[in-house]
Symmetry: C2
Subunit: 157 residues, 2 copies
């Protein structure tokens, strides 16, 4: 199974981009992993929040194949412990999926079209973190999941 | 009111340390803010998890004054949305506290002595993140809280 993380816009902070790519590299030892940073929507200042969300979601949907399993990170999503998340990931891998895509929204979240397409929603926290920082949390959590499944010492139970 | 964040050990990743100090600097515009990275416990490989937790907690307790209000980040803590957290912080500031201390545990959490001393426990997420990454989440969240209280555009409601 391939795992892809999709987000809109490049990661502004070099330090953050570096940390994210470190985890992505480590993840590559366990699974076919790819991060897809889609280009920013232009002229967002001239757009309503609703319109920005719509354009971002359309951009993301163009990258999704019919067979892909889509998981959105969303504040209204299901919460998991890291161990539960790793078991959930294992189940998805066992189900014969070709590709699992995790999607990180922009500052205003997702358009309804993306909610309709997605199979699952996961919430990282009741708290809001910067959507750029969420990228780091997501790759770290997927990496952690694999170390849990492999019984490696990264995660302390 | 002063706000202090205490954690054990320096932040290993330079990129992470840079991000943390950026938020700490921004926070300094709103409040007397200080981060206290206590030295690592030596020879942890020779210690049981329980002993490491004990020594770490003793080190932290030495830094705490009787009048300090202590909040631990702990997986069994209360969860807040960012807006609720900002209101909670406001209440603490209104109560005439001299110093509020947030404590981030090591990889194994806290010793019972620290649980006894602390007034509150807050959980960032059901998921576990690296305890070094938690430092970034904590400073970002305190920063976010102040931008919410000041009605500044950093947080999108």
């Amino acid at each position: 199974m391939n795992i892809q993380v999709i987000a809109i816009g490049k990661t502004d902070s070099k330090a953050l981009a570096l940390l994210i790519s470190e985890y992505a590299k480590r993840l590559g030892h366990y699974v076919n992993f790819e991060m897809l940073w889609l280009p920013d929507i232009k002229n967002t200042k001239a757009l309503s929040e609703k319109n920005q969300k719509l354009q971002e979601s359309q951009l993301i949907l163009k990258k999704v194949k019919p067979s892909d399993h889509l998981i959105l990170f969303d504040e209204k999503g299901k919460t998991y412990s890291s161990v539960d998340f790793s078991e959930h990931l294992q189940k998805r891998m066992n189900s014969g999926l070709k590709q699992l895509i995790f999607v990180i929204g922009g500052p205003y979240g997702f358009d309804e079209s993306l909610y309709q397409r997605a199979q699952e929603k996961i919430s990282l926290s009741k708290m809001t973190f910067s959507h750029q920082m969420v990228r780091l949390l997501v790759v770290e959590q997927i990496y952690r999941a694999f170390t849990i499944l492999r019984n490696e010492p990264y995660h302390h139970r």
